[in-house]
Amino acid sequence: MSQPTTLFHKLWQAHVVRSLGEDLDLLHVDRHLIHDLSGARALTDLQERGLAVRNPELCIATPDHSISSQPGRTLASSPFGERLGGGLRKMAEAAGIPFFGLDHPNQGIVHVVGPETGFTLPGSLLVCGDSHTSTHGALGALAWGIGSSEVVHVLATQTVRQRRPQTMRITVDGELGQGVEAKDVILHIIGALGVAAGTGHAVEYAGTTIAALDLEGRMTICNLSIEFGARMGMIAPDETTFAYLKDRPLAPKGGAWDQALAQWRGLRSDEGAVFDREVRIDAADIAPQITWGTSPGQTLAITGTIPAPDSFVEAEQRNNTELALEYMGLSGGQPIAGTKVDRVFIGSCTNGRLPDLRRAAAVAQGRTVASHVTAWIVPGSAQVKVAAEAEGLDKIFLDAGFEWREPGCAQCVATNGETVAPGERCVSTSNRNFVGRQGPKARTHLAGPAMAAAAAIAGEITDVRNLTAVAEDK
């Protein structure tokens, strides 16, 4: 009998075109997503070298980073929309790469578009010039983010050189408490392990908690893998995955679907497969999370207290905490709940999908955004927007005083100019609370969509479970 194998090794081995050394391989890329921030540059580089795109049919391109999210937008609505988004359109069309422009029903954030169109498939190897490409591992794909020079390599050769990482399995078991969602699970994991724990590792998430999540929740988990340094996060495909994919426009149909399904069912770690590192998390320990600092690992339970610098033993940690608190305008030893907020952003490749918007809408329904708060809802894609509007979610948000905007990365990374003003505090469902991420001197608190909606209503960081309780009392 053959050695028990991890899902990661199965996916990796299936894509080796050629070994280049002990643990360095040339791997075939089955799916390549291209966006406006690095796409135009890479396609221009390729052209300047006199090379062609090897397999344009294995790519899709869509603008997301540079474009405005303003209702009624055009490429000209953001400072660099025409240069980057327009540049991508021109280069992609010339190369024969399917392009989902602003007026296309499939436009959106690459990591939302890939899965929802069925472009991302179990067992495929997918790359994109964006660190949050780990998202696609939620469907059982081997997916990671690459730099723009590597994008050129992929365009020219349909392959990528990659050193084989170590493996890590994070098993989360048990039922999530009331008001606890996928975002809380992964922030809890990052807080527990530290922001560099995953460096050099491919992570598989497993356990009953993960199995019970919908595909969108699994994407949120895999998306944030990079925030603890893991380039790849993945979840074995199961019936939930197959039900999600069936009948998606780019997913296989008819006989091809049956044939694919038969192969996909074998995509899981064998019993007894050995991982380089194993981590176990008890779902009962996870409370709704909110970050307090300038790194995603600086997170705490909503009921928690902001750490004081002197609570850390190591000088480096003390110093780091001090700097983070100063930037965030917070004091150690204070409860995080009750901190006044100026803005709320709900969207991004982390939490911009339909179930995310449903959870936020459930909190917003029949309530009003606090008068001092500007709150935005930015659907992750045109498909998400249309589906949400069909359910009337836009109306719930608009009635509550949220802005209902056009799909894209928007205020998560603010490369489109939609920054949070200096000194303003924003509760955001995005993925990074780095210094200056949402704008110079902007203060970001990461949380899930329900917690973010609750902050918009309360005008301060608050425990969504209290709001829900009020709603149930009514």
Binding site: V17, S38, I146, G147, T157, G436
Partner: protein, 207 residues
């Protein structure tokens, strides 16, 4: 790709940990698709005041480090976004070598693609190098990739590990696209087999 053999020069100490790529090159400078000229925006928010004036305390603004060719930094350097503008900005500033205890994977890879040598050392070695770097122009370092050594100002030598394949690529300035293009036959064969086994991966249904 530009070759890397040795670099000799001033090393700038940057003690913070988790220096992310948003810090290395903030988003407002990602508008360009040009690589040149990013050096003046390197570490922009740490380096300049709102009025554009320099923050005198920031290491690269200090007279001793304005021409630094080596950067010594704390753990997990380059975490966050995959933006290749980060190594472009570092190189455009004039830095050819970054030394830390650990790097984020994507940033680490991106360095090699741009002729920058990232070196991993132990925490003890990093402390020694920080001490040297603190002495500014009075203590230049020499990094020799061929021998995998960092020579300190007082005769001290730190040996570092380096993957032989990557080392060869940097030393010879090898073009990885050109190398892979030579394996076109292997790629063709792989795709033929894959098409036979997983036909649904091919033929774009979007068209």
């Amino acid at each position: 790709m530009e070759k890397f053999k040795t670099v000799s020069g001033v090393a700038a100490p940057m003690r913070g940990i988790n220096i992310d790529t948003d810090k290395i090159i903030p988003k407002q400078y990602l508008k360009t698709i040009e690589r040149a000229g990013l050096g003046k925006h390197l570490f922009a928010e740490m380096r300049y005041n709102e009025d554009g004036g320099e923050k005198p305390d920031f290491v690269l603004n200090q007279p001793a480090y304005r021409e630094a060719q080596i950067l010594i930094a704390g753990d997990n350097f380059g975490c966050g976004s995959s933006r290749e503008h980060a190594p472009w900005a570092i190189k455009d500033f004039g830095i050819r070598c970054v030394i830390s205890t650990s790097f984020a994977d994507i940033f680490y890879n991106n360095c090699f693609k741009n002729g920058i040598l990232p070196i991993k050392v132990t925490p003890e070695q990093l402390e020694l190098l920080f001490d040297d770097a603190d002495r500014g122009a009075n203590a230049t370092l020499t990094v020799d990739l061929a021998t995998q050594e960092i020579h300190g100002p007082d005769g001290g030598v730190v040996h570092f590990e380096m993957d032989p394949f990557r080392k060869q690529c940097l030393l010879e300035g090898l073009d990885d696209i050109g190398q892979t293009m030579q394996r076109k036959g292997r790629i063709d064969t792989f795709e033929e087999q894959q098409k036979a086994q997983q036909p649904w991966l091919y033929g774009h249904p979007a068209e």
